[in-house]
Symmetry: C2
């Protein structure tokens, strides 16, 4: 069996896991192309030069998963220390714990309910005139009532997506349920952790392999695909097709850096829910690495903006039925013979890191198990679906 | 070097760790005497017969430590899964997070303070007319002000110790500081975890050794000491001396068992701070083992009482200067040639499990390193000091 030459476009988590797995098999020579001057994609970490704090360039990243194989896999590349994200929300009515849990409910309404009574109480707040919610707003009103919706979701969602909540699909709420207990961990997964040396280190470890070469500040496109036996593409789907039926909408983020002494906000992530406050959240990174000591502290304050040319692409925009050119791009991607698409940008889905790792591992397995004929390359790894969660 | 025959009185954590270490050395034949019909002392766990939930017979036990050797040691005997105790407090003003942290402060006063402003705010609440606090109450008023003291500490402390807070020493507050950040973990230690099979399993593993025999429902006292080369005593100090200058005061706990379907209170531990509520806290044990599934849930509701004859001895009572016969017992213990005292009861100190393990390991090391002459047995492992923390 001869060695095949494949390209991986993008040195983020998707591309790096896939590249590593293919290189490790001994059956592929892998060329990774990354248009940025560094690896890590949107989970890139680096040490802030003034404070020495490990910061996440594109906002807070906490690795969480319930898949044993994924958890085992990532820990091959760094030590992951347990970290549970516990978000606080600043609202017009004060500071609360998010996701909405029994403490939030009791404090917001000045009550002392137990789980059973809280569930009945929240059910009683819902707007029963909404029979079948068709939008995010209707769903929130139906299941939470106006007060909680107004305080926690309306302003934040509008700022995050730049769309009136009445124009967003219901699916956006699915990921952030109300909890009728005191569990205030943001995610429900079995494992939740932070790599001690950061995500960039993880990616660097992944890419350090004799059958794998990394080309920084260089990208390849559809017209270069013939030079390789196959291309695995983790860039933006519309870009692969040179935007020829239009651009997909993305949200980007403006990061404003704050540097201070001591402890700026007392926790890693605070969401700002009021519409009148322009930013959506502030991340104070030293709280992710409590085992390090730093005199200075550095925070990133995030403001959500529509992605213009040159802006980092952070979130695919939640889709309602009117989804522009997406489905056409998807159909074309599925017909591509020389390219397979994966990752957040390549499949236009709002994927967390653990999903990206899982999908890259699954794709690698399919590739390695497939017969060698070129037409057996797995296609587009997942159908894009309307965004199924609120940004963390 | 001949094998020596030693007795360990009490099969709690102290006695079991010490017994194991001495047996493991190969230099001792160890006889463990436990007056109860089971091992585990006050950290005993068992499966509740109706629900199948692993309960802690004498109230909630979360193992926490910052000592690497202790952490490594306990994990030899069971898998310890991370668990951070996050206590909620029901007060006359609603439900809050405890220890008092930035969320508690912001919620209690309806504010949105950052760490720096919260610190200044709390400093401003303190009663400055108290110059040098001499009691728990004065200290709380000096550093927290009347509102927080009243809501969180006055009633709870009075119920827990059966003493007016004005009669308690200042040291009682030391362990429960106010935090000016959103960290709501009850303990500050590096590691905090629950053994998957429970503490009784840990103790059973410790005691399973060919050079170690366990005698249940049997105790030995001072008059039996001559039968052994040495006795290590983890029982109550006054009992060793047959109470001959009086009894040491202990608090005991009445446990009322509640059994229900589902989720009773939404978290493991809720403290009840109001004086008018007779009980101090409720523990719902299934929240300690989220990896298990149970339809039923079992809770223990605790009421603190003075220990009468036959009651389990739970907490040494905090001492002010008037400490009764304690110091005389301590002096006698230090003169004992054939016995060494350790553990919560043996040294009349309110010790957490990790301290008990650390002290037993340290004592074992001293014993094993000492020359063989009998007079070199280490004495009383620690001086009893006034209680330095509020019960968890």
């Amino acid at each position: 069996m001869s060695t095949r030459k494949v390209a991986v476009v993008g040195a983020g988590l998707s591309g790096s896991v896939l590249a590593r797995e293919l290189a490790d098999s001994g059956r592929f020579q892998v060329a990774v192309f990354e248009e940025r001057p560094h690896v890590g994609g949107n989970c890139r970490c680096f040490r802030d030069p003034d404070s020495g704090v490990l910061v996440h360039e594109f906002g807070p990243h906490v690795f969480h998963t319930s898949r044993e194989d994924v958890w085992r896999y990532v820990r091959r590349w760094d030590e992951f220390r347990p970290h549970t994200l516990r978000v606080k929300a600043v609202t017009e009515r004060g500071v609360f714990s998010l996701p909405i849990n029994l403490l939030t409910i009791n404090q917001f309404f000045g009550l002392r309910l137990d789980p059973r009574r809280a569930e009945a109480f929240i059910a009683g707040l819902g707007d029963r005139s909404v029979k079948e919610p068709r939008t995010f707003e209707e769903q929130a009103l139906r299941y939470l009532g106006r007060e909680l919706y107004q305080a926690f979701f309306r302003g934040y969602t509008k700022k995050q997506w730049g769309i009136e909540p009445a124009g967003l699909p219901t699916s956006i709420l699915a990921r952030l349920p109300v909890r009728f207990n005191y569990d205030d961990g943001y995610y429900n997964d079995t494992y939740s952790a932070i790599p001690v040396h950061g995500y960039t280190h993880v990616v660097e470890q992944l890419l350090d392999h004799p059958r794998l070469e990394v080309h920084l500040s260089r990208s390849i496109g559809r017209s270069d695909a013939r030079e390789f036996d196959h291309v695995f593409y983790t860039g933006s789907l519309d870009r692969w097709f040179e935007y020829d039926i239009g651009r997909l909408a993305y949200r980007s983020v403006l990061f404003e850096r704050l540097i201070e002494r001591g402890d700026y906000q007392g926790t890693a992530v605070i969401n700002y829910c009021e519409e009148r406050v322009p930013y959506t959240r502030v991340t104070e990174f030293k709280h992710f690495t409590p085992w390090e000591e730093h005199e200075l502290t550095v925070c990133f304050r995030e403001t959500s903006i529509p992605a213009g040319a040159g802006d980092p692409l952070c979130y695919p925009v939640p889709l309602s039925e009117r989804s522009g050119p997406l489905w056409e791009y998807v159909a074309r991607a599925q017909r591509e013979r020389h390219a397979t698409f994966l990752g957040r940008l390549g499949t236009y889905r709002y994927l967390d890191m653990h999903v990206v790792v899982a999908e890259a591992l699954d794709l690698a397995r399919k590739v390695l198990e497939a017969p060698t004929a070129a037409e057996r390359w797995p296609r587009f790894t997942g159908m894009p679906v309307p965004l199924d969660g609120i940004s963390c």
